[in-house]
């Protein structure tokens, strides 16, 4: 059941809702600005930590997250 996510930085608006709602705490805010001027977030996970539960994607307002499962 291991998974991973891919964040589309261009779409991200830095709302950090994914950060807030990832039950495993795998997404982190950064001080990186994207082209639109938002601080993007990063997925930081060791293999297997992400369960591909999709909750981050479910809450992401920008449809910026894709989720993959083994």
């Amino acid at each position: 059941m291991a998974g991973k996510i891919v964040i589309n930085e261009g779409l991200c608006k830095g709302c950090i809702l994914c950060v807030e709602f990832c039950p495993r705490g795998l997404i982190k805010p950064t001080k990186e600005l994207n082209a639109k001027g938002y601080y993007v977030v990063v997925f930081e996970s060791d293999d297997g930590e992400c369960t591909a539960c999709t909750l981050c994607a479910v809450i992401c307002p920008e449809v910026a997250i894709e989720v993959y499962r083994e």
Binding site: L33, A35, K36, G37
Partner: protein, 179 residues
């Protein structure tokens, strides 16, 4: 002389306040002045801007299709305004937040590390006043002292931040070299 300046950035950066302090100061100095903020749907997504026109004569249009000066606080605003500025005009950028530079050679660019300087005087929320101070050095539409006086009026309900903002104005003013 009629000078139109656009102040632009994110909503929370105090860009409207920069313009307001300039406009108010111009009024106090007996100049003709108009201040036109962006409004409505234009502000969705959190960006904001305003145009301040200062002149010795009656001002026809408060709109600026090509401003003489731009004071820019974030990337998207620079993208939007960089090509609208008059040839020969000036662009002030907050170099702490803006990670590219306009390609044009026909404008004068001032880089102001506004957040850094603001932090130095006490709080980086005063970055806007740093920018305004810098602006006043090379675009002396009003006296620095007038702007500092106006800051006192603007923050009359929050006297605690008046001194900070006055110092930020000064820090910005002094950050630009020359006379």
């Amino acid at each position: 002389m009629l000078i139109k300046t656009v102040f632009a950035g994110f909503g929370g950066q105090g860009v409207l306040l920069m313009g307001y302090v300039l406009a108010y100061s111009a009024m106090l100095e007996g100049k003709h002045v108009t201040y036109l903020p962006s409004y409505g749907a234009e502000m969705r997504g959190g960006t904001a801007n305003c145009v301040v026109s200062v002149s010795n004569e009656e001002i026809a249009s408060p709109v600026a299709s090509s401003p003489d000066v731009a004071v820019i606080m974030n990337n998207p605003s620079l993208e939007r305004f960089q090509n609208q500025i008059q040839s020969g005009g000036m662009i002030y950028v907050n170099s702490d937040l803006i990670n590219f530079r306009p390609l044009r050679g026909d404008v004068i660019l001032y880089e102001v590390p506004a957040n850094t300087l603001a932090l130095e005087v006490g709080n980086d929320r005063a970055a806007n006043m740093v920018m305004l101070g810098a602006f006043l050095k090379r675009t002396p539409l009003v006296k620095l002292e007038t702007a500092q006086e106006v800051v006192g009026k603007v923050f009359v309900d929050k006297p605690g931040v008046i001194e900070l903002n006055r110092e930020a104005l000064l820090a910005g003013y002094q950050s630009i070299g020359g006379e």
